[in-house]
Symmetry: C2
Subunit: 593 residues, 2 copies
């Protein structure tokens, strides 16, 4: 070991030689990034994770064998060289080793390389599918190296912080028991126990609660979780969570702790001071932004116009459950054509609005697509309520409440993007709290837990359990940054009777509850401390902090949209012998039945 754990093949890495090293004999190893050949002189850019160092080979000044070896090199060959650090003829200020180059005394090919199927540069010419198949080559590109480096740093800093905060890292099992939300469990057949299955955890939720009951006080784990969903664009069947739980805490404690964690991550990893966390109730968030994970980097908050717009004879508004305006800052200059394009945009199925009404000044006068139903004073009243000024345009959506809120929320984000108000380097964190306990599942005719069935309800809601369970509020909270839900958690139930009440509200029979969660309910009878916690979507947090939209670029070996690893070609068949050992048969065509 020469130094810095570099190994016997090299004295330095390809990113560290400087002017100060001139005159030294060094040994380097790495990949051939580029070869330039000017007849009597060849330059080789030698690359490793740490940087690029230039080798210079001059006819006459350099052994003939070296020149011969060099002439046989190709892109991505792995070579080792021993030589002298010399000052460059012409410096390259763009790279850190740009003051020097190496005059090799030896040049050895350690591995040859076929020509890669795509270029290994900042931007590659390879398509998505090809780059996934050759993921190990795509991973050589600087953007992916940077992403994984950021992720590495995040991993280290997260654990360092939580360790300092007094959290204990405890590893929970991966082979667990299938749960009622089990429809989305990946299962693992047992060979030793015929016909029985383990499940892979969707989260370590029950284990971390048991650890609080065991008295471990504060737990954390950065842990893989699994969910067998029909995949949407940016979901992965396996994903990583920062999973945490604390004993003897209330909501405020959890918020304080994880504000401290996330602020510290931004500081240490990005050298950014995160602003103070806002707090917003679920109801306020829905009202002001139309969703429960608002991007608060910009204003243009929704304005609820039912009072001012209904009962004036305009049927679309009169029949609407909600009439919602968005004050589009500076939108007053939008042309008719631009407004039409925006109307088309909101009418796309992904947004689902029926149409778009506008109000804006034209030549000093308020104009609107609905001005035959409303007076100038009425229009002015809307503008005033929405805090839209003379240069702005008020855009109005109307219809069924949930859908209109959704469309308004999407439109607001789109307008924010168009105005450049969703600035990449700016981060606005907040907490959303006071979520409902349950949401009604129209298909199954029962309630589902919005967070999960272990979330405690807020105090003093006794009368609602019978009367209106749908309006019960939970001790649940999400951390939101720039419109991304980065984490969510709750104060848990720590009494068996309350846990039974919730299972009942969710439509579990006593037997079902017992079979699936008997161990937890029993544990709650042996002295469970009040406790609560949170889980962060680690892939997403990395992507957010790395300034990217897709989590896939922050996972070394992701699956594609159909949960397939195209590099490994997995999943794949297994042998009849294996199936037999597992006591399983493939039921051909069962899905069509």
């Amino acid at each position: 070991m020469r130094h810095n754990f570099l190994g016997m093949y090299r004295t330095h890495n390809c990113g560290e030689l400087r002017k100060e090293n001139i005159g030294q004999k060094v040994q380097l190893a790495g990949w051939v990034q580029r070869i330039r050949d000017k007849g009597s002189i060849k330059w080789i850019d030698l690359r490793d994770k740490f940087g690029i160092t230039q080798l210079i080979l001059e006819e006459g000044k350099c052994d003939g064998n070296i020149l011969k070896t060099a002439s046989e090199l190709g892109r991505e060959y792995v070579i080792q060289t021993e030589g002298e650090v010399v000052e460059r003829y012409s410096k390259n200020p763009d790279i850190q080793t740009g003051d020097i180059e190496i005059r090799p005394n030896t040049l050895k090919v350690l591995s040859v390389s076929k020509t890669p199927p795509f270029t290994i540069e900042e931007e590659s010419d390879g398509g998505e599918e090809l780059r996934m198949k050759y993921r190990y080559l795509d991973l050589r590109r600087p953007p992916l190296q940077n992403n994984l480096q950021l992720r590495h740093k995040m991993l280290q800093e997260t654990r360092r912080a939580l360790d300092e905060f007094g959290f204990m890292e405890i590893e929970t099992p991966f082979l667990i028991k299938s749960t009622p939300e089990g429809a989305r469990d990946y299962v693992v057949p047992s060979r030793l126990h015929e016909g029985e299955f383990y499940a892979l955890p969707q989260s370590p939720q029950t284990f971390k609660q048991l650890l609080m009951i065991s008295g471990y006080d504060k737990y954390f784990q950065i842990v893989r979780c699994f969910r067998d969903e029909d995949l949407r664009a940016d979901r992965q069947p396996e994903f990583t969570q920062i999973d945490c739980e604390m004993s003897f805490v209330e909501i405020r404690d959890v918020m304080d702790t994880f504000e401290a964690l996330v602020s510290r991550l931004f500081k240490t990893v990005l050298d950014l001071e995160l602003p103070a966390f806002e707090q917003l109730s679920y109801a306020d968030s829905m009202r002001r932004f139309g969703n429960d994970r608002p991007d608060t980097r910009f204003g243009m908050e929704l304005c609820h116009l039912n009072d001012l717009t209904q009962g004036k004879g305009f049927k679309v508004f009169d029949n609407a459950e909600a009439v919602i305006g968005i004050p589009f800052t500076g939108g007053g200059s939008y042309s008719r054509k631009q407004i039409d394009a925006l109307t088309d945009w909101v009418k796309r199925p992904q947004i689902g609005a029926m149409g778009l009404v506008y109000v804006k000044y034209v030549d000093g006068e308020l104009k609107s697509s609905v001005d035959k139903f409303f007076s100038k004073e009425e229009l002015a009243g809307w503008m005033e309520k929405a805090e839209a000024g003379p240069d702005d345009m008020l855009l109005i959506l109307a219809g069924e409440k949930a859908r209109t809120l959704f469309a308004a929320s999407e439109l607001r984000l789109e307008l924010g993007s168009r105005l450049g108000l969703r600035k990449p380097g700016e981060f606005k964190p907040l907490w959303v709290y006071d979520f409902p306990m349950f949401e009604w599942d129209e298909e199954e005719k029962r309630f589902n837990a919005i967070h999960h069935p272990f979330t405690s309800p807020k105090d003093n809601q006794e009368q609602l359990w019978e009367k209106d369970p749908g309006s019960l509020l939970a001790n649940a909270y999400d951390m939101v940054i720039n419109g991304v839900e980065v984490g969510g958690g709750s104060i848990r139930i720590h009494r068996r009777d309350m846990q039974e009440l919730v299972f009942k509200a969710l439509g579990f029979s006593k037997e079902e509850a017992e079979e699936k969660f008997g161990f937890l309910m029993e544990a709650l009878e042996y002295g469970a401390p009040p406790h609560g916690g949170i889980a962060f979507g680690f892939d997403r947090l990395c992507a957010l902090m790395g300034g990217a939209d897709s989590i896939r670029d922050f996972i070394a070996f992701p699956k594609n949209n159909s949960a397939r690893d195209v590099m490994l070609n997995s999943p794949s068949g297994i042998s009849p012998k294996q199936l037999d050992e597992l006591s399983l048969e493939i039921s051909q065509g069962s899905k069509s039945s």
Copy 2:
């Protein structure tokens, strides 16, 4: 948050109050460890992870309601109290809070507890099965809390060190592809791809090699691995590895790096200076100790006596492939009865020896169970060769070589234990290297890889590939401490042609090799650096450092010997609907066919 992330329920934990706090008003929360009642005075020991603090309740000096609440408390109740820190009448030097006690002004029950099914003390009265079922209660006991605390520290220190050494933490997938060693893979049926399966990794081996090919230079991960074995005493179906890989290294580099890691762990976690690492070839280890993971805390090395013992007419020796002596230090005083007991011990099926020959001094004269076949001079020659002195006893085993080495190795360890030479606080680390590449599988009539199929052979053995593959040596190494193999690794193959040669030697057809490892072989064609690595059994390393034999006590939620989680009752059946979605059927009774 009052301080130290303790939460709203308390100002201090139960382990931190000292003389300096006398006079302060504090708030504590925790579990009732013990209540002592002397009529007019009650003492409550309040416990949390951090320690125990005593509450004192005196009639007259204390609110009647508090006394009433206290009289209803039981073991393991969770309570919260607010009160004043006072000096104790009689100090308790055994606990850190022994100078003080609390006079409560309030006492609130946060959770009641049923009487636990076993005592929650240093030593529990509960049987293994019961404690596994109520693991969350067993985890409250100090020994398990200490074990998990040690594990937490090991996790943090390992990552901190590897980060400093320049290793990058990269998470590899859990849903991967089944491999030829696949017989021991856990598989995961895919819902989206009918009849196809993922496998859970037995190790991230191929991924870490791909990461080296991707240029990540040094990788690590503390990662869960899975192996569906017929369980032996101290195996778990899921276990944790410290998994590492380095580019541009030779064996010496890997050894240096991980000596540095492990020495640092001993220093930071146990405050122990680990002695220098010995190095021992596999052949020497087998010869001197009879196994490839010797406990070098003591001597009594094996002595090979074939030369001196054969051809003298004693059939047992004459017909033996190996005659092996063990110089039992101080064993000269063993009685006939003790020797007989030892003979019975080696003849047990677990050891499998046919008998035991002894040589020792009785009244100044050498005696032996075989002295009618050998002269005193011959016996003296054996003693001399084995370096056995006048107070020692030479024990001799004979028979087929591998079995005799095994028995001799076991006997040596047993004697070492009896002599107290395997001292708990002493640690003797070493490397065993130069392992064979392959071992012959008599059942399957083919070679198996001793390490794994990606291990490179040593140089200059070309002639052996055809002639005697069984004697090929590998660039493989194990780290051994006190007779425990804590880690093992190798320099890998980094060229496709060599990888093909090894697959061929292992009896893979070209098609099999291609189907299972095509992606890796192809990756080797795109510029693979020389690389190597190691993996440590983390559970075992923790157990070793924690001074325990069983890894189960260092895993929060282990499975039992039949791979079952008795707390969760897992594995278990899944619903017909789930089976149908996975296109699977249970084949009843298929195993008997």
